[in-house]
Amino acid sequence: MKNTALLKKHLLFIIIAVSMLVAPLFTNAYQLRILISAALAMIFAMSLNLLMGIGGTVSFGHAAFYSIGAYTTAVLWYHFKTPYSTNFIPVILITGLAGLLLSLPMSRITGRYVTIITLSFAEIVNLIIKNWDPVTLGQMGIVGIPSVNLFGHVLKDKREFFYLTMLFVILTYIIMNWLVDSKLGRNLRAISNDAIAAEAMGIKIFPYKVIVFTISAIFAGIAGSLYAHLMSYVEPATFNANLSFECISMVVIGGLGNFAGTMVGALFLKILPEYLRQFEFLFKYRMIAYGLVLVIVMWINHSIPGTKLKNAISTRISALFRKKSAEAEEV
């Protein structure tokens, strides 16, 4: 019976993963391109969900890790002509290190102030990329990054690239879920539900924050490194605050702490703008429709797939938002 429970828990993920995996048989290059963007966004957004949904940190600067990942592989290729498989380890090390670095102030800073730290961190990373001309070429961008090269095999076909990305999506999902179900995850949830109670129980908070930030950064970095090879071009302007906000939206639409939901959120937000393209009357107002959809989705039902997880970030704050009826009952 354990198996059926497991299947039920991951049903949404299995449906998405299977349909994504067979999709390239039916799609054209354009649709495949959207699916690739969505798959990259899935990895990126799931990594943020670990931070937000399980770690309880609203990050406004997740794009920083994405850009570090993209630039690590791009810079290594540019200066040393190393293939992707060689760059992969440095990508993990450097983004992990960046995550570690960002987690250090978190020993003192909590709650709402974390948001501004992540925002500032992202701005600083972006400014370094913009102005460190000898290494990153600054605003000139790095041109002509080749397709992913895995131990001598070049993924020329976009389908191959898609399957590589999907491999990472599945890996991310499995690792994230494993993390959440492990002792580490239980402690994390205890911390984000009630930090003080957790501390009283003898759980040391800070080491967990370090771990969450590092892992989250690594996966965002992997997504970024794939992005660089997909686009064959990186420039600092791509990794602006809007990228972070888009990522937050994906996580929130899918439901905090719900990784399969995040995948749907990513699919939804990547397909929506392209879908809106076909309505001619929306031509210049496509993004208005996009904004409206965001508001309405939040309004009707905050998470599309519906699993109302206990909101990790704000059990404390949500008291302020509590329903009137609930309040009446309390009285």
């Binding site: 290059a29 354009y30 649709q31 959207i34 000139m140 041109v143 420039e235 791509t238 749907v264 599309i304």
Partner: protein
């Protein structure tokens, strides 16, 4: 249930995001069954560069109107050119998605793509067009290695910066005889390149720049760097900036009391700048790529149509056509020319490219257009200045006979 419904919604959206099966390998002609040609236009219709997109779009539509008046390609109302317009928001990812769509679409089958305004968009897309062997007519891309990056398939109507910026330096130093020059440029690929080539040429001509200050996109308060520049007492401040920024910079220079001569590059030698600067604009130098010859029949015809189609814009711009609209028009006219030339033998993407690359002395609205070796566009550039006309109104005046006495290419070391 809700999960399944939401998934269904997403799948439905994906299916209806239209597009068909894989493209056929061999195409006899790019025309569809009605004999019409399809062109994809991808421009930043929204975002901070939307004003440029709008003007280019206008120029393209004027050219299409002209063709329509002539009875389209065959002269009998058949052989239309149909443009599909895409908004890339000046965003690399969106641009690349559009490029993938455009290159693989069969219904309609696109002959070429026009647009990709900034290099941040034209570069990631160049790769996609190169692989698909389809022309990317990035008419405004002026980055010096664009043509090399795009393989054989990239075209641009803008001169590359190694030529353009070097000429500006030559004019400033040897013609206007300034030797105390400060530089302000935007921190983007265009600004960095222009700054590099300008500084190099200036040094070659024996002038060391007093200051060179860059600023990031979205910056609006320039008072601090202007105060800093003021300390160096320049005779001339050269600005490689977008037109919106030069207005702010010039106004704020007044606030901090920096008085000297000012110059902008060809990007900002626009009627917009003239209008918004008001009296402050008087004396501002600019660079102009080939004057409009008002008696040129090509120009007269263009202006007439432009005035008919966009009377308000025409009046707003002091009864002139806008420069970027001219470029859009030129671009589409050369496209029409290349299609007509290849129609007898079958206009495929390859044939179209080969023909376009041979463009020589094509009568455009900014003078003759030629793609030299390596598709490099050759244009003459004049010095230009805002002066007060006899009617008391400010206007841009081009130094049209400057080249008779001053060989700018020789001075700039381009020959």
């Amino acid at each position: 249930m809700k999960k399944l419904l939401s998934l269904l919604l997403v799948v439905l959206m994906l299916i209806t995001s239209f597009g068909c099966t894989k493209p056929e390998d061999k195409v006899e002609s790019a025309a569809d069954e009605n004999g019409d040609f399809h062109i994809a236009v991808s421009l930043p219709y929204t975002g901070t560069n939307a004003s440029y997109a709008e003007y280019i779009d206008m120029g393209i539509k004027v050219a299409l109107k002209k063709l329509e008046n002539e009875g389209w390609l065959n002269g009998d109302g058949t052989g239309k050119i149909i443009c599909d317009y895409y908004d890339d928001k000046n965003d690399a990812t969106e641009g690349a998605t559009i490029a993938t769509k455009v290159t693989t679409s069969t219904e309609p089958y696109y002959l070429l793509e026009v647009g990709s305004f900034a290099s941040g968009v034209s570069y990631p897309c160049a790769n996609i067009y190169k692989e698909a062997e389809m022309v990317q007519y990035a008419l405004t891309c002026s980055k010096s290695d664009y043509l090399a990056t795009s393989g054989d398939w990239g075209f641009s109507l803008s001169m590359t910066q190694d030529t353009a910026a070097a000429r500006v330096a030559a004019y400033d130093i040897k013609y206007l005889n300034f030797d105390k020059i400060a530089l302000i440029y935007s921190n983007d690929s265009w600004g960095l390149e222009t700054c590099k080539f300008y500084t190099e040429t200036a040094e070659k001509l024996g002038v060391q720049l007093l200051a060179s200050e860059k600023y990031d996109d979205g910056q609006q308060d320039f008072t601090s760097i202007l105060t800093k520049i003021k300390q160096t007492n320049p005779q001339l401040v050269m600005c490689f900036c977008a037109e919106n920024d030069i207005v702010l910079i010039r106004q704020q220079a007044e606030t901090v009391g920096l008085s000297c001569e000012w110059q902008v590059s060809s990007k900002s030698r626009t009627s917009n700048v003239l209008q918004n600067l008001g009296d402050l604009g008087e004396g501002l130098y600019g660079i102009y790529a080939k004057t409009k010859d008002l008696n040129d029949p090509v120009y007269i015809e263009y202006e007439k149509l432009y005035k008919e189609m966009y009377p308000q814009k025409f009046a707003d711009d002091n009864n002139t056509t806008q420069k970027y609209a001219d470029q859009g028009y030129n671009c589409m006219m050369t496209v029409i020319w290349a299609i007509k030339e290849t129609m007898k033998t079958g206009t495929t993407r390859q044939a179209f490219r080969d023909k376009l690359a041979t463009l020589t002395d094509f009568p455009g609205v900014q003078g003759k257009l030629t793609f030299a070796t390596g598709r490099k566009i050759l244009q003459i550039q004049y010095l230009s200045r805002i002066v007060r006309g006899e009617d008391g109104k400010l206007k841009w005046v081009n130094f049209e006979d400057i080249l008779d006495t001053f060989d700018v290419d020789a001075v700039a070391g381009l020959k």
